[in-house]
């Protein structure tokens, strides 16, 4: 082996190491904190955990009455974590489903049926992605009140899909648009309806792109904290992120960190399972369209 390529390998390896540490360290740090006892949290080494314990996670689920006793003269509240988990599952699963169905239908219309001006429709829908929801709180809240959805999970089910919809419509329609006409035509010639051709041929073909759209939707929806905490007021109606933000960090820091992991680990696992499909789907959409 000549010395030059040896150096190259070392350089490549250390870059990879640096990239990995940069990406994983904050996550590792949060995981380690959640496994600590209060004693170790204050006096131990911040980077490692000597006596890992799950007691913070267990305490998260303890719900004896309204409080968990006092620290000095300060009341420690208990939190309806089970409700939060249920709400989170409903909202996330529902929003991803709504996003996917609405964007598949729209993408089929724009990519296959191509009504007049379909390029402009696509551009307008995609452009709406850049509008920050942060500047729309006041009118959004009015919409929510008009629909009688204040303090209701349905408010999030109506707003969350729009977070990821523009991007999902874009990649799905780019993919559909550049599939050759012949894909459906043989089925249509044999007398199948458009719906049959869609469900039997187009949908199975586009599975990777649908996976990519779904993971993108999940990641986007799971990163919202602001809308959830603005729209869900009652403690029992909150999703995990909105609920965690109501915890008193000064008293329950370890509990909050455990809550963070409680929400993050399932989402990360789902994303990890589909990670390769995500990249494959994005690539497929980009080859066909972009």
């Amino acid at each position: 082996m000549n010395p030059r390529s040896w150096w190259r390998k070392l350089g490549h390896g250390s870059l990879l190491l640096a990239a990995t540490v940069y990406c994983v360290f904050p996550i590792y740090f949060m995981l380690v904190q959640s496994l600590k006892t209060a004693q170790e949290d204050v006096f131990g080494n911040p980077l490692i955990v000597m006596n890992p314990t799950l007691e913070n996670f267990a305490e998260l689920f303890e719900q004896h009455g309204e409080s968990r006793g006092f620290i000095g003269r300060t009341l420690r509240r208990s939190y309806p974590v089970l409700d939060w988990i249920e709400n989170t599952i409903i909202v996330f699963a529902g929003s991803v489903a709504v996003t996917l169905v609405a964007s598949l239908l729209a993408a089929y219309a724009l990519g296959r049926l191509r009504p007049p001006g379909f390029r402009w429709w696509r551009r307008i829908i995609f452009a709406s992605y850049v509008i920050p929801h942060t500047i729309l709180f006041v009118p959004l809240y009015q919409v929510v009140i008009t629909l009688h959805l204040e303090n209701n999970l349905l408010a999030l089910l109506a707003v969350y899909p729009t977070l990821a919809l523009p991007f999902c419509v874009w990649i799905l329609s780019a993919y559909f648009q550049h599939l050759p006409r012949s894909v459906e035509e043989s089925a249509l010639v044999e007398g199948a309806s458009r719906a049959t051709a869609f469900f039997r041929i187009l949908l199975p073909m586009s599975r990777p792109v649908i996976v990519a759209a779904g993971i993108f939707a999940l990641g986007t929806i799971a990163s919202d904290f602001t809308l959830a905490s603005v729209f869900l007021l009652d403690a029992h109606n909150k999703t995990i992120p909105a609920g965690l933000a109501t915890m008193e960090v000064a008293l329950d820091e370890l509990l909050a960190v455990a809550g963070i992991n409680l929400m993050a680990i399932p989402v990360v696992l789902i994303c990890a399972v589909f990670a390769r499909g995500y990249v494959r789907g994005l690539t497929a959409a980009m080859v066909e369209g972009a």
Binding site: M30, V42, A127, T134, D224, P241
Partner: protein
């Protein structure tokens, strides 16, 4: 099967997506444009008056507005540039096969997959610990050093910036990796024969080939920049002293009851966003070839 029927079907299928977008985006924007021209406020007696561009005129005369606008635009521009550079680096690092690539890919995918709604809570409270913990002394010293050099609130603002870069570079990296996969490898191989210098190859081949994907990545990164900012701002009930436009407007509306000026303030970012959109569409949406 007639063309007219297809077109009708197309509009029918577009309807659910459009209804969602109109309810959650178009209507609120319309409301804001109208309100920004009035003095609507729950504190006002009597009917709401149409005041024309008065709210905008007052904003333009307010130095605090220009400071908030500058901070917002600089924040967006800086985080986007850094996310793009880091993301491109990560994508190129993963572009060629090597042993353990799957593992490194997973690591790079993690910051985006880890839900920001909760990681932002952990990240923020870790960098500004409210209670004594094993790391709070170190973080406290950092905060002190940064704040005394750059002014109060600088450390908190820096921590949001870092968070956004950390999460965004992961997304851009994975996104550009997908883009690189979409480019036929022959194009890169030809380039390797043409030029020996990796640096020249990067600027003359890789960047132009990736241009549409880079533009798309900017587009996507921009939105998360604002979303992360809002997340932290809500979390700390506005304790971040650096004013930024979107959240400042929310404060003005909810706590000041001044819907008119708040709407004008919210919309002040529009020219910036439209300019960016215009540029990006020109880059990633070239005049389409007619499909055969």
């Amino acid at each position: 099967m007639g063309r007219a029927r297809d077109i009708r079907l197309a509009y029918l299928l577009l309807a659910p997506a459009l209804i969602l977008l109109v309810t959650a985006l178009a209507y609120p924007i319309g409301w804001e444009i109208w309100t920004s021209l009035t003095d609507l406020s729950p504190l006002n007696e009597g009917p709401t008056a149409f005041v024309g561009l008065e709210n905008y005129r007052r904003l333009a005369a307010d130095p605090a507005f220009w400071r908030a606008a500058t901070i917002t635009v600089v924040f967006a521009a800086v985080t986007c540039a850094v996310k793009l550079a880091l993301g491109l680096g990560l994508a190129l690092l993963l572009a060629r096969p090597f042993r353990g690539r799957a593992l490194v890919f997973m690591a790079i995918f993690l910051p985006w997959a880890y839900p920001a709604s909760v990681s932002v809570i952990g990240w923020y409270w870790t960098l500004s610990p409210p209670i004594p913990t094993a790391y709070s002394v170190f973080m406290g010293n950092m905060k002190y050093a940064v704040d005394s050099a750059l002014g109060g609130g600088a450390w908190a603002f820096l921590s949001v910036t870092l968070f956004n870069i950390w999460r965004g570079s992961s997304f851009v990296g994975v996104f550009l990796l997908a883009g690189i996969n979409a480019i036929p490898p022959e194009l890169f191989e030809c380039a390797a024969l043409e030029s020996k210098s990796a640096w020249r190859r990067f600027w003359l081949v890789t960047v132009p080939l990736l241009k549409p994907f880079l533009a798309l990545a900017v587009f996507l990164a921009l939105t998360t920049a604002f979303a992360d900012l809002a997340n932290v701002w809500m979390l700390t009930a506005g304790r971040i002293v650096y004013p930024v436009i979107g959240t400042h407007a929310y404060w003005l509306a909810i706590h000041g009851g001044q819907f008119g000026p708040a709407s004008a303030l919210s919309l002040a970012l529009a020219p910036f966003l439209i300019a960016v959109l215009f540029l990006l569409f020109r880059m990633f949406d070239p005049p389409e070839r007619e499909p055969a």
